[in-house]
Symmetry: C2
Subunit: 833 residues, 2 copies
């Protein structure tokens, strides 16, 4: 593609290039032209006849064009400036929908709406056509997505790397109150938000064995793989808000390798040989649906290495494009491990430096130790990733050797430091002996990372004092925390546009969208009657929208006058949806026992629960069923009417969250203290002026500090009390009401007596590991307080405004700012307009 040499033709071509080098215009008429062109030529429909989905496709492709322009300019600018870059490695990114977010970050939402309007379409209806990109499970994955938005908006030279699962997180379907899992065919109707890079692909090796070779008289190891799979790049542009910067999320898909077909087949069974090879695609085909553990599955390990290997080949190729000395590598590259899932990157970089670039071990190790930082999302030692040595040795024989070598040197150092404290050595060793000899991925990571981050202040405490105690004693300087955050762009601007306008109006600026501390400015207006009135109006419209959704989903009519009390998040014992349900049963029981007069004083509630259970997590599935069984009873009890409803919202995901959160009055974050590393759901509710009912756990502790205990409803045992309470075991007493509601379930009051038996058993004395019984009394008190506050409209509204006002600290912009400065050492690199 070089320009012609000769003068005249070259001039012509140059003129031509110049002629076309204007950006796509964003006025409504230009947008309409682009939309219609995409209808005709990309969607290949008639411009005279297309439906909402086709309008969605065409608009999205028009936006994609604009993203591509910015993506290119940004990447070229980064290339020219050559700053230190951050590479964010994560096996999960829960992006949700892209259309609304993109047009808002590009600043062209209104023009798009006008353009559609003039073609006879409604922006909101068109945007509803999009399916969620659900390449993740829950908190960890959505955090990655929020952080990508902040990285882009704050102009950091960063890229994300992940896996392009063909099937995202399963769809949750409820039949008869039970959860069923359906594959998420999210790519079946095309994905305009990704750019397929057919020529950016790398071979990823598996299996085989390690041989020794002589190179210039030196022995070196050569990994001779038994299988090759090709990783093909798909780029997802991530536009910043209020900046031209558009960064990249590069996801890898597995394809059969073709370059390496030299041992091609000459088999009788050609057909089956092809089909087997096709099986390579399985590696990126499905996301593991468990958000806590994946111990010892070969496919999972393959996914991890596949994504790590492709990403590092890409990163190192880019580094070598303009650098030749690997000692500079840590000056140009920061590698962030989102939990230990990508921790095979550590032995992989060692392998590349030592075996392929032929650096000495100690020089390579020096480099590697400056590259990596880890963020842990675990609170329990049982939750830490372990990989059986047999599995690792067969899939990645050279990596196992390298890990052994790393461990050998580490153990030698430890002995120097602590002497022959074998207990400590065996606790800290990367290799766990035992029935199944395993590699401890966390230990590997901590040994190599320059920084280990917790996701909230209390989480760091737990890491220091429990999970990684030994390591903290050795390397206290490695341990930091960065409280998680969420992006106000998606969680206010996109999902709650009327609140967004209201905030801007009262702050007199939209600057808070990039500079979130400005939200504090709302505090001075919190008691202002005008603001309060407008605030309630916005919230009521959102509640009505949610009520409508509930009715179409479940047929249940709920009144927007009631308090919308929401608990939506993955179903887990430690998150205690069961506590919520027992509280609802208690409330129901109380109402049933009231006379008419008493009933008149009850604050009407709509209890909303939503969340997915991991397919193999039986207890979580029983909790879902119990929710339906209790709802069935309550919702059909004419005695109760509007005083109490219980609704389960199926298939909770990002776009459902965008609808539910702005419509909630109260939200529950009631994990047993010490179990939630951070929690980010709470922050989204907070931003939207929803009051929290919460235990002092994870980031909630910091939220309490920020907005004050009297602006929310807290209860329950504290983190430091929990171990002692558990010690007490069956000596721990629970209130009588607790026994009563558990007995109702046990006795079959809601049916399915046998099925629920194990749930009830787990709440008895010794068994009540999550302290539902202990916390039940204070939980009911907190709920009663909430009822009291709700009837005091002025007070409630003030609390609501103060929640939003205090939410700025929980923006991912703040989180990313801290990471950039304290962990990654990167600086903004802003592409000029």
């Amino acid at each position: 593609g070089l320009l012609p040499e000769s003068g005249e033709r070259r001039g012509k071509a140059e003129r031509l290039f110049r002629l076309m080098d204007g950006f796509r215009r964003n006025d409504p008429v230009s947008l309409q032209k682009d939309i219609l062109d995409h209808v005709e030529f990309t969607v290949a429909r008639s411009r005279f006849n297309f439906d909402d989905f086709e309008a969605y496709q065409a608009l999205s492709h028009s936006i994609r064009d604009r993203l591509i322009e910015r993506w290119h300019d940004t990447q070229q600018y980064f290339k020219r400036k050559d700053p230190k870059r951050l590479y964010f490695l994560s096996l999960e990114f829960l992006m949700g929908r892209s259309l609304s977010n993109s047009v808002i970050n590009l600043g062209i939402r209104d023009n798009c709406a006008d353009a559609l309007n003039q073609l006879g379409f409604e922006f909101e209806v068109v945007a509803e056509q999009e399916g969620d990109g659900a390449l993740g499970n829950g908190g960890l994955a959505r955090l990655s997505a929020c952080q990508m938005d902040s990285l882009a908006t704050m102009d950091f030279p960063a890229w994300g790397y992940g896996l392009r699962y063909q099937y995202g997180l399963f769809r949750q379907v409820i039949f008869d109150g039970f959860q069923y899992e359906q594959p998420d065919y999210w790519l079946n109707f095309g994905n305009p938000w990704e750019i397929e890079r057919v020529h950016v692909s790398y071979a990823v090796k598996f299996y085989g064995n390690v041989e020794e070779e002589l190179l210039n008289g030196e022995k070196c190891k050569v990994w001779v793989p038994g299988e090759m799979v090709e990783a093909v790049a798909y780029d997802n542009p991530i536009p910043g808000y209020g900046t031209r910067n558009t960064i990249n999320l590069r996801l890898w898909a597995a394809k059969p390798s073709d370059q390496h077909d030299m041992e091609s087949f000459n088999t009788g069974d050609y057909i089956n040989a092809v089909i087997n090879r096709q099986g390579a695609e399985t590696i990126s085909s499905v996301l593991y649906p468990d958000d806590r553990s994946y111990q010892g599955k070969e496919l999972r390990l393959k996914q991890q290495y596949f994504f790590v290997s492709a990403s590092l080949q890409d990163i190192i190729r880019r580094f070598k494009d303009s650098h030749s000395n690997f000692d500079e590598f840590p000056d140009k590259v920061a590698l962030q491990l989102n939990d230990t899932h990508p921790s095979l990157a550590i032995p992989e970089v060692m392998r590349i430096l030592v075996d392929e670039e032929h650096l000495e071990w100690s020089r390579a190790w020096g480099i590697v130790c400056k590259l990596f930082s880890l963020t842990s999302h675990t609170v329990l030692p049982e939750g830490l990733e372990k990989v059986p040595v047999d599995l690792l040795g067969s899939l990645l024989p050279r990596h196992l050797q390298i890990i052994y070598d790393i461990n050998f040197f580490f153990m030698e150092d430890l002995k120097k430091h602590f002497g022959l404290d074998y207990d400590r050595l065996s606790r800290m060793s990367i290799v766990e002996e035992g029935a199944v000899k395993s590699i401890r991925m966390a230990n590997l990571s901590i040994v190599c990372c320059h920084t280990v981050n917790g996701v909230s202040r209390v989480h760091l405490e737990l890491l220091k004092t429990r999970v990684f105690k030994d390591f903290y004693e050795l390397w206290p300087q490695k341990f930091q925390f960065k409280t998680n955050g969420v992006t106000q762009r998606r969680w206010i601007v996109v999902s709650n546009p009327s609140l967004c306008s209201l905030i801007s109006k009262w702050l007199g600026t939209e600057a808070w969208i990039r500079d979130v501390d400005l939200l504090l400015g709302l505090r001075e207006h919190a008691a202002n009657a005008d603001l309060q009135q407008e605030w309630n109006m916005v919230r009521r419209v959102n509640k009505m929208r949610l009520a409508e959704y509930i009715e179409t989903m479940s047929g249940i009519k709920v009144s927007p006058d009631a308090m919308f009390d929401v608990q939506t998040k993955r179903i887990h014992e430690y998150k205690r949806q069961l506590l919520n349900l027992l509280g609802i049963i208690h409330r129901y029981d109380c109402i049933k026992n009231m006379n008419m007069n008493e009933r008149r004083k009850v604050v009407p509630r709509v209890c909303i629960i939503g969340g997915k259970a991991a397919p193999g997590y039986e207890i979580a599935k029983k909790i879902i069923k119990l929710c339906h069984a209790v709802g069935e009873k309550i919702n059909n009890d004419s005695d109760v009417g509007d005083l109490l409803k219980l609704v389960f919202i199926p298939d909770y995901n990002v776009s459902v969250a965008e609808l539910v959160i702005p419509g909630s009055d109260l939200s529950q974050h009631i994990s047993t203290a010490g179990h939630e590393p951070s929690g980010t759901g709470s922050m989204k509710f907070l931003m939207n002026g929803c009051l929290l009912l919460a235990t002092a756990d994870g980031s909630t502790i910091e939220i309490i500090e920020e907005i004050g205990e009297d602006n929310m409803f807290t209860f329950g045992a504290k983190v430091h009390e929990v171990p002692a309470l558990r010690e007490k075991g069956s000596a721990l007493t629970a209130p009588l009401q607790f026994a009563r509601v558990v007995r109702m379930v046990r006795d079959g009051y809601f049916g399915f007596k046998d099925y629920f038996k194990s749930l009830c058993d787990a709440l008895d004395g010794n068994g009540d590991f999550y302290l539902l019984g202990h916390d039940f009394g204070s939980y009911l008190e907190a709920q009663a307080e909430a009822d009291k506050a709700f009837v005091d409209r002025e007070k409630w509204t003030r609390m609501s405004i103060l929640s939003t006002a205090g939410s700025g600290r929980f923006s991912s912009d703040r989180t990313i700012g801290e990471y950039a400065e304290k962990t990654w050492g990167i600086e903004p690199c802003r592409c000029p307009f």
Copy 2:
């Protein structure tokens, strides 16, 4: 997507629609803009920096836009006019490349070349970036492609239906002279020539069982499937030449079914459940690489039914869009079966009419009998498709019942007609008894089709007198023939542009490109010295291009002064590449035994062989190895030098053919008489002025009639002589030279003695089924004649011109015209400009 109701906004929108309703412009500057836009937004590269492949992608997308415009207009026109439509059902379409063909049929090749040129690219180099669409094996598949081109050009309202194999025909790679098969990853780099129709999809059912239901008091059968797979449509626009008409080739890809997930999973093993379901894609993943038989493979049967079921759902939906009475179905629809591969369409239509539309059996049968026509491509009874009853009954239980019912009524009719002639009944029965009870797909087809076509005159004779003798006696009126043809658009205009210009110049018109009989006009100039000189010049340039290709592929330098003697086609015993090789050995042996003087008189030859062997076809693979072994000997023998070269061209496919054919002097079509149903390769060589050396077999017989025996070199036993010759067995004598060359192979003169033994054994007396020995003498004579003619330059050139002049009868335009009139009953339907 309706226009807004209200006056003002509606007016605005209408103006807008009008504003944009211009076609894409085809001047070079507009084309350049489009190319650059596609570089930036579709390929997502920088417009300042893209390579030849990206230029190919961008240009192709620009052409695709133009195809889409025409495709839409054509389909809307068809819809409005509602003519009888032809649906061409074929499991294979060998399209080759699309770019050059498209720009030529659109009439914008020169503008595209200019546009690229001004951007610094060469059209030829860019076009070379395209990979072949190789969704077929050989003759039958390429015939489908040629016929699609004719159907479009002749404005017929026709669609093709087929399968979108993810892997086309294997790539042939030669190591050490042996064939290896590599999967053809043709879609890995994207395919701009198809339009994915994510919303055009149908569920295809498999397995399960048949139940009886009562409907309005009538019993009817309901097939309850055990498995569902989704068929998604991919449309490939086929532009006609010199017309706006652009017809459709709709190919189906298999996807896991999502609509029918109601029995979705609630399994412990979610991951494996998803991966298993994913396996549905296997159905369309790979083309069977055997061009003659696929007996009894379940996957093949699945492919057949998958494609038939999706196509018929689509055809019937379209019919029902504007018709309600199925008696009109045969007035609006003709269904062409390309060989018996799609013959499950017969019981499928019966099933739909009877079980789903609730027509009575006899009414349904009356309709079905007016719908279908079959073209047979088989000459040997052993080549006919059979499906084991067990397999069919398990995969398609209802279809087996219907086939039994059809057969029952047919047998009853036969008994009325012929009496109780049990031999005849058992020969004609659709069900074959025996060790493996099977369904005879040919019998099924003949019973139901209104017309059975042979592919050449002699082929029809063989059908009548041997393969389908019984059926011919019953229904003589069903049997017709349409000699195959090839499209001069691809085989002259696209692949031999200089010859194309030369022809137009001498005919004074380009009209022959649509009206191929005009080629006869060349006859009067055949002896014209000016034409001869220009003719030879064109041919020499083509030979030089081929010589260059040979050198880069194989490192062998060949002289364009030599006669290029080519045999390229699938490797088969009956096609007798072995006869060719033995002739070459003989020629080599002769040269070796000559003195210098004698050698000086030898006409130098470059013998070129190319073609793929089916992966399981051992003898064919040995022939390939023999070719390499002989070549190795000859090409390295300095005694021989330029007098004789033997080159194997690997991976023969359509685009290799486009290069080889225009550069050939002599081409061999030397099947044992009675074995080649038609042969179409010969026609392409003929069109390009290459002389034929051929047996009187298949369409060659008609070629001889058309251009005269003295304009080609014929030899060998005739069709009617072959059976008697075979009777003679070992009494048949072969010339001494034959025994000598076979002995050279047998004795290891070319190495690999053991490996070639079975090849030699098969040539001994009784074993010489394909009569190589018998024909060897006359083969050598024909070759000697060719040598003699070659040195008479004027004569050879005249023969060459007369070959092209006489090739018009072998255009697929003629074939399609006959089918339209005599078999399908369709009329042109020309979309106005």
